[in-house]
């Protein structure tokens, strides 16, 4: 993962609540064994009509949004299926951050693991952003701030560990692998305990 320190970009807006991961990437595109190339299917059923032609009026099809790296959406973004294909598709489509007044737990976790920054801001603030597509925002991960073009800013919550991973571009698996002696010790402590089970294989 590349370090993620700052980002400056115009915003693309999807003024809609409860955008679920089936909308972000419909299930029929999940029969893949790689992470790459999912961007072409992002929001597929909103972007293309029944004949497969792009809908000119869909926000992400408008030429002025091609450069957008920040997606702003209504509350409860990313609910539903746990498919990590959702953040993979958004990243592949060029996004590096999502701003909403509420982001579903699994999507947030999946996003952070791939360097897609989930930013939760108060609903009133998100509503004003949703009314200004194309607005240029700056994001500073170290300061946990979103800056407006006039220099005004708002702070956003970000878990300290997730922040460190983003800033240094390290991933969680490396961190977990480094804990192997603690994991060994735990397994030794648990061996023979019946309190929580061993899946038994008598196949």
């Amino acid at each position: 993962m590349k370090p993620f320190r700052t980002l400056e970009s115009p915003i693309a807006c999807l003024p809609r609540a409860h955008i679920d991961t089936d909308q972000i990437i419909p299930a029929r595109f999940l029969t893949t064994t790689t992470r790459e190339g999912l961007g072409q299917h992002a929001f597929h059923d909103w972007r293309f009509d029944e004949h497969g032609a792009p809908r000119a009026d869909f926000v992400l099809n408008r030429p002025e949004h091609r450069a957008a790296r920040i997606l702003v959406a209504g509350r409860n973004f990313g609910c539903g299926s746990s498919r990590e294909h959702a953040p993979w598709a958004l990243l592949d489509a060029g996004f590096r951050a999502v701003i909403s007044s509420g982001i579903a737990d699994i999507f947030r976790n999946n996003a952070l693991k791939n360097g897609l920054l989930p930013i939760v801001l108060p609903e009133a603030v998100v509503d004003t952003l949703l009314a200004q597509p194309g607005l240029r925002l700056q994001i500073d991960v170290a300061k946990r701030r979103v800056y407006w073009p006039d220099g005004g800013f708002i702070e956003f919550p970000l878990d300290a560990f997730a922040q460190a991973c983003l800033l240094e571009g390290v991933d969680e698996l490396g961190h977990l692998l480094a804990q192997s002696s603690a994991i060994d010790a735990y397994e030794t402590r648990q061996a023979g305990s019946t309190a929580h089970g061993e899946p038994r294989h008598v196949a």
């Binding site: 679920d20 999940l30 790689t34 009509d49 029944e50 409860n76 038994r200 008598v202």
Partner: protein, 494 residues
């Protein structure tokens, strides 16, 4: 004396390899990891790229379910794969499991099925465990007093390589349901009602524990239905404390300890309950007596309505969903014409669900306008249902009896609802296009689904409880012509 603890507190503390701090999340040990073909290939690739092996292969079990065809193989053993990629994905899982020493429930194993159906029925799912799967409905296993939650593909890799996950401790939400479920109402009606009450983000950041006399009175299958849809309320996990119903259901299952060892295990399992007086971060109380058969009307699982009520009026929050569904605000839900009925999925694809459906279907025929698909949740469910003659009953009613799998719940195996069609489904998600592009989905209990199949439109299952009512109920439902404009995505393209 120690302060009383919730079931969640006990599960969490028993599995902490390392407690969380401000700087780092907790390291949580995972007892059981379930895999399927769709969310695992990228994780296996990550392990291969780093030269890692699966740390404890015996704690991982795989099945084929999401993209598998539900029509039987032909004489040459060929299956109706929806695409070469779907078949390749299954081949990849087979090869990966082989290389890493992971047990796979393949075709012909007699144990294959939807991941959240086979785990419990084989007794792999046991009280006190931590269980994860690259699938958000892993919450199902919480019905056994296990902490079970869905993860993404990166985390699938973490569990394979380290048997651990990095997790921040969630908050706890108690949902207490007292009273008895009224006749005609099942666990599905209850969980739809709960999601309607607390909203689709009502459980975000929380683990839900379902408790109260109505929950205690549920069978294990019904408890699984309730826990299954916790994710639809935004919660990653749902829990129900262990009682004698849990223990008796597990007794004799293939993968639990047998004989005297079972009694030892059962004694240990009984500790997996919240202590009296344990405090939750939030609480909701529900009176089961207020329940009526409940269905969804919109495009997320929190948009619910009782079967005998009217649809909400058009308003800024409802207009997009009403327009996608082709429903007129304020109109009655009952009588809306139905094209497809799907009975199956990890929510309602177990034997008790098929029995609930069969009780309504018995002696009746599926309405000529309706295509009805019945998909057992697993090989075992299929065997048991066939032993009871449910397959014959289904076929004689004019419905299709299929091979186990996720099928129309996620519509990635070729079983799809066509654009504009209205489906009544016993699955768990009614998102736009979930059952096929442009498909419109109403979520319902198996009884309500069967009633809709007979009536050809949304119908009150209570009218079908007794076969003697058949004639009366059929004429009581008036089906209005469809007015759907399913491809309207005005709100999305705004």
């Amino acid at each position: 004396m120690n302060a009383p603890r919730t079931l969640f507190d006990k599960l969490w503390e028993a599995h902490c390899v390392r407690e969380e701090s401000e700087r780092a999340p907790a390291i949580l040990y995972i007892d059981l990891h379930l895999l399927h073909e769709v969310t695992s290939p990228q994780a296996f690739a990550e392990l291969a790229a780093r030269g890692l092996k699966v740390r404890r292969p015996e704690r991982h079990v795989a099945t084929l379910d999401h993209s598998t065809p539900t029509s039987p193989a032909d004489a040459q053993g060929n299956r109706a794969w929806t695409s070469p990629q779907a078949e390749a994905q299954v081949e990849a899982l087979r090869a990966n499991c082989e290389a890493q020493g992971i047990e796979l429930f393949d075709w012909g194993s007699g144990r294959r099925g939807i991941v959240h159906v086979v785990g419990p029925e084989l007794g792999l799912t046991q009280p006190g465990m931590t269980i994860v799967c690259g699938d958000s409905h892993t919450a199902t296993h919480g019905a056994f007093g296990a902490l079970a939650f869905g993860i993404g593909s990166s985390e699938v890799g973490h569990v394979m390589a380290t048997q651990c996950l990095l997790q921040r401790r969630p908050k706890t939400l108690a949902i207490t349901v007292d009273g008895r479920l009224p006749p005609g109402c099942s666990a599905k009606d209850l969980i739809l009602h709960i999601i309607g009450r607390i909203g689709v983000a009502g459980g975000t950041g929380h683990v839900i524990e379902y408790r109260g006399t109505a929950i205690e009175a549920l069978s294990m299958e019904e408890r699984m239905t309730v826990c299954n849809m916790s994710i639809e309320a935004g919660a990653r996990a749902g829990l129900i404390g262990v009682d004698e119903v849990t223990i008796e259901w597990l007794r004799g299952r293939e993968r639990v300890p047998q004989g005297a060892a079972f009694e030892t295990a059962a004694t240990a399992w009984r500790q997996w309950r919240s202590d009296d007086g344990a405090r939750f971060d939030a609480e909701v109380r529900i009176d089961a007596r207020e329940l009526r058969p409940t269905l969804t009307w919109g495009t997320h699982p929190g948009q619910v309505v009782a079967v005998d009520a009217t649809l909400p009026k058009a308003a800024p929050e409802t207009v997009g969903a009403l327009s996608y569904m082709g429903f007129e605000g304020g109109a009655p839900l009952a009588g809306q014409p139905v094209d497809v009925v799907f009975v199956g999925s990890c929510t309602n694809g177990r034997l008790s669900d098929l029995r609930e459906m069969a009780a309504v279907l018995r002696g009746r025929r599926v309405h000529p306008r309706v295509r009805m698909l019945v998909v057992p949740g697993s090989d075992a469910v299929k065997r048991e249902a066939e032993a009871e003659g449910i397959d014959r009953l289904v076929r004689e009613a004019g419905a299709e009896w299929r091979e186990p799998g996720c099928s129309m719940c996620i519509a990635m195996n070729g079983d799809t609802v066509k654009p504009g069609q209205l489906a009544v489904s016993t699955s768990n998600r009614n998102f736009e296009g979930r059952q096929g592009k442009g498909a419109r989905t109403v979520l319902a209990s198996p009884a309500s689904a069967a009633a809709a199949a007979i009536a050809g439109g949304i119908a009150d299952p209570r009218a079908y409880a007794d076969p003697a009512n058949a004639a009366a109920s059929a004429s009581a439902t008036t089906i209005t012509p469809a007015t759907a404009n399913p491809l309207s995505t005005a709100e999305a393209s705004a």
